[in-house]
Amino acid sequence: MRKILVGLSWGWLLVFALIPLLMLFVVSFFHRGVSEFFVVGFTLENYIRLFDPIYFTVFFKSVVLALVTTVFCLLLGYPFAYFMASYGKSARSYLMILVIIPFWTSSLIRTYATMLILRTNGLLNTILLKFGIISEPLEILYTEWAVYIGMVYTLLPFMILPLYSAVEKLDRQYLQAASDLGASPWQTFIRVTLPLTLPGIIAGSLLVFLPALGLFYIPDILGGAKSLVVGSFIKNQFLAARNWPFGAAISVFLCLMMGAGIWLYLWVKKRVSPEEARS
């Protein structure tokens, strides 16, 4: 029975993950066709093209977008996870439900809802104007601000959940010991809490950073499709420009980048967890 299950999951991975990836890899070395998606052959031109300054800019901007999103998620998610873990059991599960509820609807629909809130005569501006906080409606929709708001909103739960599980595991006796030994709350945080929750921070950051690199509909919908991110760039190569080899090459490159990120995570985790085990 076990063998069957293991075989099934391997088969599943093979058919739906490995083979498509392999196809992508192979196509990335083909030539572009005018009326076909690709012409069989071998060329490195698709990879060389990646070093063209304009594609470099696309990558750079996407990485910056993903990084800033990760930092904001961390700044918002850490205190939230910390306080969530310090509440009583029932309050915790209540808060957890609040974090999870948005997943019940499609993130695309939530992005459109964000649009309704942010637009010139939308909910946010109406409220701010009514309370006299601003005199002119804020122009948020179709700017970078809107993109960041949408990204952070969509990805925040991916930061909170691993952080929460890290903070929850934290043995509160260490904090007490630190303060008994004369550490200030700040010192305790920096030297005890932070290192012990580091695996959670890294896991959360990766879970936010990697999807943030690939999300294309949030910049398209909330940013007004004015600047290309790597996700929409790949989509365009496959659908609009129909340059499959080049689209495949960008995808392979992106996969390598993400793979490097995960490797880094495992490496750091290995260095962090022995300490955890020793204690």
Binding site: S35, G224, L228
Partner: protein
């Protein structure tokens, strides 16, 4: 076993004939499909797309099969014909052709209408909000005015955007001259500070929520927007708008060609074409249907432009290899 098969047979829908239709989203009213199903006993399986590129890519992947009736626009018809993706129409099965408006037949992308017939047609020109504009808008050049900083909507369509730029420079929207294309790109780059958003899914909503003041829009969308907010005015620029025709074609490897012809003939019935045009807001290519339409639509110049304006319009055509150059500039435009 026999029982199960018998049960499946009995439970199978009343329809034994089907037609797979792939159309633009919100481009065919429910009632038209229901009426056809009731009358013919053919089940219509409808799926939708929102760009020619997606339609083309899907048909290519399916090797010109999978669907029985699809609706590509102008230059995509040309592309599909040249790549042998279409089935020649069997005109003897389509008596309702006689109702079609000759002005929309024999267009350059399919000169004898061997493969395609017009379904709806329209144009792309400027929609602006009279309340927020200090002077009259009459030319594509007005989009570049400094007073419209961050208030222009541009269709998120490479060819349409380049058409605006090329025409405002006095060139053809179908230019294949690298010099002209580059000039048009520079000109579009200068327009970027004015562009608030690229969108071709629902420009109407963005105008109605007042996020933009003016921009390039499809006439049907403009018409619908002006019904809600009368201060929105649709103008044909002096340089000439772009004219497009959404055609009906049958893919070469379609399985239900007979049903496809039957449905196509039904779509060309004057009463049916009228219902479609009325509800979608675009012009019918059906002379007899036009006669049945209400004056408020039939005489509306944004839906049915007068001949003098139509003569000034240009149809986007397939530009072959030059499209790679356009794409390159389009990417550069969006990277900055």
């Amino acid at each position: 076993m026999i029982h199960t098969i018998l049960l499946l047979f009995l439970l199978s829908p009343v329809f034994s004939r089907v037609v797979y239709v792939y159309n633009w989203s919100e481009y065919i009213p429910r009632e038209v499909i229901e009426e056809f199903e009731k009358e013919s006993g053919i089940k219509v399986k409808l799926s939708t797309y929102d760009s020619n590129e997606i339609l083309y890519t899907k048909l290519k992947i399916l090797n010109s099969g999978g669907y029985d009736l699809v609706f590509p626009s102008t230059y995509f018809v040309e592309k599909m014909i040249s790549q042998n993706m279409l089935h020649p129409l069997e005109k003897e099965k389509l008596p309702n052709i006689s109702h079609l408006d000759s002005r929309l037949l024999g267009k350059p992308y399919d000169k004898e209408n061997r493969f395609s017939l017009p379904y709806l047609w329209g144009n792309s020109a400027i929609l602006y909000n009279r309340g927020s504009v200090s002077s009259e808008v009459s030319s594509f050049k007005d989009l570049w005015k400094p007073e419209f900083k961050k208030s222009v909507l541009m269709l998120d369509d490479m060819r349409e955007a380049f058409a605006v730029s090329l025409k405002s420079l006095g060139y053809s929207a179908n230019s294949t001259e690298p010099k002209q294309i580059q000039e048009a790109y520079q000109h579009l780059k200068a327009l970027m500070p004015n562009i608030r958003i690229f969108n071709s899914e629902s420009p109407r909503q963005i105008f109605l929520t007042k996020e933009v003041v003016l921009g390039l829009t499809y006439n049907g969308d403009a018409y619908k927007a002006s019904l809600v907010d009368p201060s929105l005015v649709y103008v044909y620029p002096t340089e000439g708008a772009t004219l497009w025709v959404d055609s009906v074609v049958i893919p070469r490897r379609a399985k239900n060609k007979l049903e496809a012809h039957e449905f196509l003939n039904f779509l060309m019935r004057p009463e049916v074409s009228k219902i479609i045009s009325d509800s979608v807001g675009y012009a019918s290519p059906n002379r007899s249907a036009q006669m049945l339409q209400d004056d408020s639509i039939r005489l509306n110049t944004s839906i049915y432009p007068p001949d003098s304006i139509m003569q000034n319009m240009e149809i986007l055509s397939d530009i072959g290899q030059a499209v790679f150059l356009y794409e390159r500039y389009w990417e550069e435009l969006k990277v900055q």
